[in-house]
Chain length 198, copies 2
């Protein structure tokens, strides 16, 4: 099977030297530097494995029918599948599970030299997890529309982040009385030379 | 300290009986049923604990200066703090860590009778995790703007989900060749009477 080459490019090396990185979270600068490094080309074997994991996940009874693999240098370094119900962890989606396992195997918290293959388009949690892990690229097979037609629907969650916090499904409310003390903890960390940026 | 009462209401009981739930993911129906059950009133003690955890997290050197607690029936059932660098887990944000711990303690994957207090506005990953966990409400102290002024910035990540997949910071690409086999795995699961909805 021949995939089209991905035309989107990211300069991971520069990203990891960005000032935002030294502060621990993504900056707009990180978000808009996509032009310099190749995101690579998909390999059909890896997606086949992700889909096989999705199929097996349905059999295992540990969660939903979703699978994912993390690939580095042409090798699968970690496999993941949905284990929400089996492990009582609502964050144990296939993508998150694969990312956690890859980090465990590689002994680090950034996967800037890795790509993720997922049997389905990541939900917003998994998309953000891919960002925090600094993955080079994400490849997916079924779309959120495919998922919707099978009775799944992440579309509402994609809309959530755009809504005012207090109007979300899980209402989020600001407590301004505590904002200053919480912000002070951040400033203290940012100024601490012993901190480990992430 | 006196907080304002949260006016947003959610009918958790109905949500858990919704058809979407039986399929395992949130539906638009879940998203827009906010009118029937109270999301409760914030308690200053719990936010004070979340902020104290944020302060301690900066000292512990396991990750960033963020803390969170999960509260059920007026009691803290789980505490979390950012442990990204200490555990080599890019998903180990304070909120995710607290949610995982609460689920472990309570032995279930839904926290519909719990509220989350976080020292900072959740990033998109943690916001979506709160949804998957079916939390009743999320309370936060520092805002994303506070975080930005201390050198952190999640704002770009909030914009990510709205961008076309191939234009994201971590480029996401659809592989339509594999969509049908991945979607078939979903349909198989949805039709399986042994499945455990989540």
């Amino acid at each position: 099977m021949q995939y089209n080459q991905c035309p989107v490019k990211t300069n991971t090396a520069n990203l990891l030297r960005s000032p935002a990185d030294a502060c621990g979270r993504l900056s707009p600068r990180y978000s808009f530097r996509m032009e310099n490094t190749t995101a690579g080309k998909a390999d059909a074997r890896f997606m086949a494995e992700a889909v096989a994991l999705a199929r097996n996940a349905a059999e295992r009874g540990e969660g939903g029918p979703f699978g994912a693999v993390v690939v580095r240098g042409g090798e699968i370094v970690a496999r993941g599948w949905n284990r929400v119900t089996g492990t009582n962890d609502p964050t144990a989606h296939a993508e998150v599970t694969a990312i956690r396992e890859a980090c465990r195997v590689l002994g680090r918290f950034h996967l800037e030299d890795c790509e993720l293959y997922s049997s389905c388009e990541p939900c917003p949690m998994c998309l953000a997890a891919a960002h925090w892990a600094r993955l080079k690229a994400v490849w997916y097979a079924a779309t959120r529309e495919d998922a919707a037609s099978a009775g799944f629907d992440d579309a509402a969650m994609y809309a959530e982040a755009e809504r005012p916090p207090e109007r979300r499904t899980v209402p989020c409310r600001h407590l301004p009385e505590d904002a200053e003390s919480a912000a002070a903890a951040m400033r203290g960390w940012a100024a601490d030379p012993r901190k480990k940026p992430y």
